[in-house]
């Protein structure tokens, strides 16, 4: 047995190592194919009938179970809470904790999302905030914010890159359109309260 094992220590001479390589012992790698003896005529007929009956039982069981189909336009597949659907832009909510920020856009036009985007589908043009026209709490805001959803791969990197949680992935997945230009979502569309058309999956579902 010892000479069949491959050389493990460097003290072995090169010649014996070569011999060990030549005499490779498959050991437990060999899988022995076990075949049952060929059944006789009656035996195989019985087997065929039994297996057919088993198959018939299985398919009949599907009738008893009932369909599992989602009737899509009427019923919608529920999504998990972390499902990555269409993006959303956010505003500071109108609550006392946000103080003077309430109602302003969270996006400050830093373009980190555009930089992170592997599909290059986000376009941000920033502009300076002025005391008369304050859109975001920072120095700048996104004057133009467009996501081309026909390019987007829904990876969620923009969400991760955003330092202010201004952009998140929503739950909407019904994004088909008759026109490609309809798939370029502007800032107004992304900021708008979306109709939550997608049901959320319940706990344990």
């Amino acid at each position: 047995m010892s000479d069949a094992t491959p050389a493990s220590s460097p003290s072995d001479s090169p010649a014996s190592a070569a011999v060990n390589v030549m005499r490779w012992d498959p050991g437990e790698d060999v899988i022995e194919v076990k075949r049952s003896p060929a059944p006789g005529a009656l035996r195989s007929a019985w087997r065929a009938l039994r297996e057919t009956a088993r198959g018939l039982k299985t398919t009949f069981g599907r009738i008893a179970e009932g369909p599992v189909t989602m009737q899509y336009p009427e019923e919608k597949t529920p999504v998990y809470p972390r499902f990555r659907g269409r993006h959303k832009l956010h505003r500071f909510e109108d609550i006392p904790q946000h103080g003077t920020h309430a109602g302003l856009e969270k996006c400050v036009g830093c373009s980190l999302c555009a930089a992170a985007c592997p599909a290059d589908c986000i376009r941000v043009v920033a502009a300076e905030n002025t005391p008369e026209n304050r859109v975001s709490p920072g120095e700048r805001y996104a004057a133009v914010y467009e996501i081309n959803l026909s390019r987007c791969i829904f990876c969620g990197y923009c969400e991760v890159a955003c330092p202010f949680d201004a952009i998140t992935m929503g739950h909407d997945y019904e994004l088909s359109s008759y026109d490609r230009s309809d798939l370029i979502f502007t800032k107004e569309m992304l900021l708008a309260e979306s109709l939550e058309r997608t049901p959320l999956r319940n706990e344990g579902e």
Binding site: T52, P67, T69
Partner: protein, 343 residues
């Protein structure tokens, strides 16, 4: 027991009744096929844990209408390599033989309608099973010519497979019926039904029943013997090049053939219009009994289709020649010996 002469039909019907019956049978066949179509699609759906068609009409009941309308409004085209006349005639042969075979299935005993004796079947031929096999053999020309005249490899291969398959299985099918014919001592299908008053032939001829049913799957090119179509390998088999109304005819003939086999099994093995336990309902119930038994057989057809995978070609051949044929021969031989010994 006196043996009825083979050519005895019993009575003659006026010509106008025969014409009326021919029209009625064609109409019934035309109505049954869409019903079987939608039921098959719904059942296949259920067998696969889905709904099946449920958008057109209530519960999808109008789906076959939509399909037929779509097929009939399509352009009639044919490949440039095809043989024009044969290409057009082949589906006609298919549909014609299917309807002709449907004519001999008895839906009831001879009824007294307005003083005229009317048999609830197209014709009560004194050579019932032979008539059936004759038209089955001609139906094969529909497939064969269709595949050949298409001028396409896939069609040709499908048609060739169909030819070999039909020849192989028709033999065992005929031998399976032989046992019944021995026992009933008549070839008339109504005679066979009347002979089942005591016991349906499914009990003494169970082997014959199984062989006939399995061979019936093969005869009608249904799964698991649908090598003629084998969509995975041959695109569509003999009907690859067909579209529109001609394809619809093939489709129609296929389903009508299934109904014919169901009807023959009902007649020959399940006692036709007879009910068990000595119940003798009024005459108008007979067709409903036959239709009910036919739907049971059709359900088995669909169930098998939903369950078994398609056979390989050599498996098909060895099943036909090495299993079914010897079994059918032995069954016929044993029946013959028993019939002779008990007389």
């Amino acid at each position: 027991m006196s043996v009825a002469p083979l050519a005895l039909v019993g009575y003659f019907e006026p010509a106008w009744i025969q014409v009326l019956k021919a029209i009625l049978i064609f109409a019934i066949a035309l109505q049954l096929v869409p019903i079987v179509l939608i039921i098959e699609r719904k059942l296949l759906g259920r067998f696969q844990a889905r709904y099946g068609p449920n958008r057109v009409g209530p519960y999808g009941a109008l789906q076959p209408m939509a399909d037929i309308l779509k097929l009939l409004t399509k352009e009639q085209f044919r490949p440039t390599t095809s043989i024009g006349l044969l290409f057009a005639v082949a589906p006609v042969i298919s549909i014609l033989t299917a309807v002709a075979a449907f004519a001999i299935i008895p839906f009831g005993d001879v009824q007294d309608i307005f003083g005229t004796k009317v048999g609830l079947y197209g014709v009560d031929v004194s050579i019932g099973p032979l008539y059936l096999f004759a038209f089955g053999a001609v139906a094969f020309y529909g497939i064969m010519l269709g595949g050949w005249a298409s001028g396409s490899k896939y069609s040709f291969l499908g048609a060739m497979r169909g030819a070999a398959q039909l020849i192989s299985y028709e033999v065992s099918q005929g031998l399976a019926l032989l046992g019944v014919v021995f026992t009933a001592q008549t070839l008339s299908l109504t005679g066979i039904v009347r002979a089942q008053g005591g016991m349906w032939y499914i009990v003494p001829q169970f082997v014959g029943f199984v062989i006939f049913l399995v061979a019936g799957f093969a005869e009608t090119n249904r799964a698991p013997f649908d090598l003629t179509e084998a969509d995975a390998e041959l695109v569509g088999g003999y009907n690859t090049e067909y579209g529109g109304g001609r394809f619809a005819s093939y489709y129609f003939a296929e389903y009508l053939n299934m109904l014919v086999v169901a009807g023959v099994v009902t007649t020959v093995f399940l006692g036709g219009w007879l009910l068990p336990f000595g119940i003798h309902p009024p005459g108008w119930v007979d067709p409903l009994v036959v239709l009910f038994k036919m739907s049971l057989i059709t359900f088995i057809f669909i169930w098998i289709r939903a369950t078994l995978p398609r056979l390989r070609y050599d498996q098909l051949m060895s099943l036909g020649w090495k299993v079914l044929l010897p079994l059918a021969t032995l069954n016929a031989l044993a029946t013959a010996i028993i019939v002779v010994a008990t007389h």
